[in-house]
């Protein structure tokens, strides 16, 4: 028998998980399907981790509205879901006098978008606030509502809270087609069977165009991946405490230098439009471009202290803005299309998609209500996703107490980031279980330090093997096909 759901969400990125979390508040069965081995493996895991203030999107666009509304929701969201978030503000820095008018323009745009708490500061003030900034700075826009977060934790926490409230998350489950009854969608076909649902929500990120085309919706809509390459720096050697944007260009918000909540400085991204949605490769040219951009903001940045590079693909769409008089063709799509029944269609949710995610989830709920859904709040709905201990961030005293309570927190597995066996085991058995190396890495920051997993790799594979009851040969880095090991070594007989 096919399982019957009320809401089926395609795609477990930050938007899909946030929608699952919002819908799990109400009576009804929620299913989220994700083609990868974990949630948050696409754009949600490879970005700049910034909660944008909202001065950047074009006034009047849906993107601008979602950005500003979403930004305001983050304090409560972080409080309820217990992920790392800090509203430390951000800067758009003009280098040389010729860039200053662009910063003023951004300020005006921010005001039109309703962004609170923006101030222009002088070059001298900027230099005082960030000693590493290019001394030729002529001034900056300071947006106090800008924030930084741990985007991996955000996605996982939203998904987990949905699961705690009754939603079901199926990993390694790839959407193949809609099941239709005339013009009505009644379910989805996947590699793991059919699932029936009254509503299907397309939050397939970079593949959202393919998904909507299967329903016959917006055949003219296409996602073009915009590849962004990044550097991560060793926190022991590079410490930039602020979020520093350059002035934006036609290519987007530009190559920034920013701190993260793990205290690692990161630099990036560039923006290269590509065709292949799976091409997450770094390039020599791209990394050189990022280096150049980063050095323009922070000339003292020493690339020698880079400990990793990564690539994110932003799902840039060609959705037209619906606001009369606003000409803009890369807007978000959030709609219940008329061509079919039973579809909530999202598309082109590129940056600031992370910031907008809670606002998008709320928008989806509002649309469903407008479409006649009753949406009765569950009596036992719990908005809180409890925090889990993070050894690295604790005082000596708290570590002592934690290890006394559970000695597994005393066994340090990742030497650079100080991640313990207790934390790893907790993630493996969490509401959305971390069953791959990278799933643990995203949740704990294990293996992200200067040795890049050289020390912990064998140990984590052994822990995964033990906890999941599988052979080390079956343990993967990121799902099927990414095994570590081929076979056992030769045995000496006798």
């Amino acid at each position: 028998m096919q399982e019957q759901y009320d809401y089926i969400i395609i795609g477990g990125g930050v938007v899909g998980c946030m929608i699952a979390r919002w819908l799990s508040r109400y009576e009804g069965k929620v299913l989220l399907i994700e083609k990868e081995a974990d949630v948050g493996m696409g754009c949600s895991s490879a970005n700049t981790a910034i909660v944008h203030a909202g001065y950047d999107p074009l006034p009047g666009s849906l993107k601008a509205r979602m950005n500003v509304k979403g930004n305001a929701m983050w304090d409560q969201l972080a409080g309820e879901l217990n992920f790392a978030f800090e509203r430390r503000g951000d800067y758009v820095v003009a280098i040389g006098d010729e860039e200053l008018p662009l910063v003023h323009k951004l300020m005006d745009q921010g005001k039109k978008n309703g962004v609170p708490g923006m101030v222009m500061i002088s070059g001298a003030e900027m230099r005082a606030r960030e000693k590493n900034i290019n001394p030729e700075t002529s001034g900056a826009l300071w947006a106090s509502t800008g924030g930084i977060c741990d985007p991996f934790q955000v996605t996982v926490a939203a998904g987990e809270n949905a699961v705690m409230n009754g939603a079901k998350v199926l990993l390694n489950t790839a959407f193949q087609d809609f099941i239709m009854e005339g013009k009505r969608i009644i379910g989805v076909r996947t590699n793991r069977g059919d699932f029936l649902g009254r509503w299907v929500i397309n939050s397939a990120g970079i593949y959202s165009d393919d998904v909507m085309h299967k329903a016959g919706v917006r055949p003219e809509f296409f996602i073009k991946p915009r590849k962004g390459e990044y550097y991560i720096f060793d926190r022991a050697d590079v410490s930039i405490d602020n979020v520093l944007f350059p002035v934006p260009s036609a290519k987007g918000k530009g190559i920034l230098v920013t701190t993260t909540l793990h205290e690692n400085t990161i630099a990036g991204p560039n923006a290269t439009i590509i065709d292949d949605k799976e091409d997450t490769s770094t390039t020599k040219e791209g990394l050189a471009e990022v280096a150049e951009g980063a050095l323009k903001l922070v000339p003292s940045l020493n690339l020698r202290y880079s400990i990793a590079n990564f690539v994110g693909l932003r799902p840039m769409g060609n959705g037209p803005c619906k606001t009369p008089g606003v000409v803009y063709n890369n807007d978000y799509i959030i709609e219940i299309p008329e061509e079919v029944q039973g579809l909530v269609n999202l598309g082109g949710i590129e940056s600031p998609g992370l910031t907008s995610a809670p606002a998008i989830a709320e928008e989806v709920v509002d649309m469903l209500r407008d479409a006649g859904e009753k949406l009765v709040v569950k009596k036992d709905w719990d908005p809180i996703r409890p925090p889990r201990p993070r050894f690295r961030n604790m005082s000596h005293k708290d570590r002592q107490l934690l290890v006394e309570m559970d000695p597994r927190f005393g066994q340090v597995i990742c030497r650079c980031e100080n991640i313990t066996e207790g934390e790893i085991i907790a993630e493996i058995h969490a509401p959305i279980p971390a069953r791959t190396y990278d799933a643990i890495k995203r949740r704990t920051w294990l293996g992200t330090g200067r040795c890049q997993g050289g020390f912990d790799m064998t140990r984590v594979v052994n822990i995964l093997s033990r906890e999941l009851g599988i052979s080390p040969l079956e343990v993967t880095k990121r799902g099927t096909g990414s095994q570590y090991l081929f076979r056992e070594t030769k045995r000496v007989e006798g």
Binding site: I232, I307, R450
Partner: protein
């Protein structure tokens, strides 16, 4: 469980440098020597180096890594060095307090009169040499692959390309060939070999594994697992030579591109590092800029031969012991003077015992409350009364004085602490 709160010498890391330091610290007269190892066994990286070539200089023997380690571990254990396994040192302060974490012993703080840092080195990774391309599984440092094969007993690859002609890379080329893998070739960006010539002969040439100098990797291909690498020739400035690209199908890329001393703990302790070696600045006793903190072996700079690491460890251990003993003697020279019953404070706060050998010392104090009856002002060491003085009464407004006489020297010399109490007679 830990036998002490304060140790003479604490050694961080039980590789060849650490074990040698512990041995020599003990031989040089340190009482309590503790060696801390984060892995399940003593020996460090030597345990996964099952090839031979160790000990030719120091032991005049050709031993495999574990054999070399065992030789010194046995000696160390016979000297009653205390051992902590499965324990990570989380923090070291400039005052030589160490915070340790382990499943078995919990999270504890200990003190050391001297510390020997012997954390060894780590391997450079892909990001540090910035190889572009995809980020699939199957890219390992040679040392991690060595652990997979020699300690864990698993094969991390079948078709293998090695970047870098470092010793571990060449040794792993031979090891993986023994185990039935195919090592396609070793690429080296420099125009010369970076490891030892003997390894080129014994590990590559003897097994017909080609070494390509002036070659590097232009990009890595494969989504989930390495599928191929693109090799390219470079000119003397390491620019790619167009037209020399070659796509080599493989499932594994091993990196043997250099080692970096592991000094994150040293930094926490305030140890200054030389940007060229990436190790601490040391004097000829292997002492760092932080008094009482010594460093030995690959944590200081990367050695060619383990024998030299052991020698550095001997020297650091001996000097750490000297430092600890001098500190212990200085500590023993003084005894603190403690305000006991009805005493608010005593001046002086501590006493150099040797002073009492030559002259009397006057102690002055104030009481906490008036006692309007005859009292004894008593100086004792916790068990034995050393001297006492009678007063008809004591009042906070009137300073009380008692004198320690040269005749009390013998008693005071034995004490670790003197307490002054005022009791009714």
């Amino acid at each position: 469980m830990l036998s002490k709160q304060i140790y003479d010498v604490v050694v961080v890391g039980s590789g060849p440098g650490g074990v040698a330091a512990a041995i020599e610290a003990k031989k040089a007269g340190a009482d309590d020597v503790l060696i801390i190892e984060r892995d399940t066994e003593l020996g460090g990286i030597l345990l996964q180096c099952i090839h031979n070539g160790f000990g030719l200089e120091l032991l005049k023997e050709d031993l495999p890594g574990p054999g070399y380690a065992e030789h010194f571990i046995k000696e160390m254990l016979s000297l009653h060095v205390e051992v902590l396994l499965n324990t990570m040192v989380m923090d070291i302060t400039p005052q030589r307090h160490l915070f340790l974490s382990s499943k078995e012993h919990g999270y504890v703080e200990i003190e050391a009169r001297a510390i020997v840092l012997a954390m060894g080195c780590r391997e450079r990774t892909r990001a540090q040499i910035r190889i572009p391309g995809m980020r699939p599984n199957g890219i390992f440092t040679a040392g991690t692959a060595q652990r997979w094969v020699n300690v864990e007993g698993y094969m991390p690859g079948k078709e293998i390309v090695i970047l870098g002609s470092g010793d571990i890379g060449m040794i792993m080329a031979r090891r993986l060939t023994f185990e039935g893998a195919h090592v396609e070739r070793v690429l080296e960006i420099q125009s010369y070999l970076s490891g030892l010539s003997r390894n080129l002969v014994q590990c590559l040439q003897d097994y017909n594994i080609p070494l390509q100098l002036n070659h590097t990797i232009k990009r890595i291909m494969g989504k989930n697992r390495v599928e191929a690498i693109e090799a390219v020739q470079v000119d003397e400035k390491w620019n790619f030579v167009p037209g020399t690209e070659e796509i080599i199908p493989c499932d594994t890329l091993l990196l043997s591109v250099g080692l970096i001393p592991e000094n994150e703990l040293s930094r926490k302790a305030g140890v200054k590092l030389d940007p060229i070696t990436s190790g601490p600045y040391v004097d000829e006793t292997f002492q760092t800029n932080v008094p009482g903190i010594f460093a030995a072996g690959n944590v200081v700079h990367v050695y060619d031969l383990v024998d030299w690491v052991s020698e550095a460890g001997f020297s650091a251990g001996k000097n750490a012991a000297k430092y600890a003993i001098a500190l212990r003697n200085a500590e023993a020279r003084y005894t603190p003077l403690v305000a006991g019953k009805n005493v608010r404070y005593v001046v002086p706060h501590k006493l150099d015992k040797s002073t009492l050998e030559k002259e009397d010392v006057r102690l002055q104090m104030r009481v906490t409350r008036p006692i309007e009856q005859p009292v004894w002002v008593e100086v004792h060491d916790g068990e034995n009364l050393i001297t006492r003085k009678a007063e008809r009464y004591v009042r906070p407004g009137e300073m009380v004085t008692v004198v320690l006489k040269t005749k009390n020297y013998a008693d005071v010399a034995k004490s670790s602490k003197l307490t002054i109490d005022i009791n009714p007679r």
